[in-house]
Amino acid sequence: MITVDIRADLNSEDQTGYVWTLLADARDPSLIKPGELVVAGDEDAPAVAVVVDLVEHPHGTIVHLDVVGTLDRFLALARRVVPAA
């Protein structure tokens, strides 16, 4: 079971063209900073995303995400990395 860093509906874009969700849906809000790579979505459909920005809103903080690929691709990349001897 995958635990995402921030729950998000990756279908949902706003006027910025980025996916948005709420900071309240992060398992650890301190992970959610502009430029950070995070796992976003849900346990059925996780994806890797870059945090674009955090926007204050009267009812919470909106997080914009730039989805950059499937988690599978990033895990495959990590497995290819061989530490130098």
Partner: protein, 145 residues
């Protein structure tokens, strides 16, 4: 008067899509997921000054290009292994209002209440494999204006 942004200000002035236009949503969906997202929308938006429950979908408005079925599956929804596809006319026939919101081809299905989540899930139908899953994602960097 609400202090929240009004979704109406983000409705595009698009021609009304044909009933045959296919709406696509990354899945698999479930009642809990739809409720969670509808509640997020209600947290940050209103519609015509009133609380609104909404669910995002993409409409295959073109035969080719980024707003076609393949274009949407290969870009917006490329990280979804499975997707739900439903003709606009079916959702409209089931009593849902679908608004063209934000950037083309994004649309918002407006729910009259949380009791409409289960009918929406039923209307979305079973999930289907996304043949473009895992293809390279085109970064959206620089879209913020």
């Amino acid at each position: 008067m609400s202090d929240l942004p009004d979704l109406r200000d983000h409705v595009r002035d698009d021609p009304t899509p044909r009933d045959a236009v296919v709406l696509i949503r990354g899945g698999p969906d479930a009642v809990e997921k739809l409720v969670a997202q509808a509640e997020r929308v209600r947290t940050i938006f209103v519609l015509d000054g009133e609380p609104v429950l909404g669910i995002s979908v993409y409409a295959a408005l073109d035969d080719i290009g980024p707003a076609s079925v393949d274009g949407i599956l290969a870009d917006k929804l490329v990280t979804y292994r499975v997707v739900h596809l439903v003709p606009l006319g079916e959702l409209a026939g089931a009593g849902f209002t679908v608004l063209p919101t934000f950037r083309r081809p994004h649309m918002t299905v407006v729910l009259g209440g949380l009791d409409r989540v289960e009918p929406l899930l039923a209307a979305l139908g079973p999930s289907q494999r996304n043949p473009h899953y895992g293809e390279e994602v085109r970064r959206r960097k620089g879209r913020l204006t």
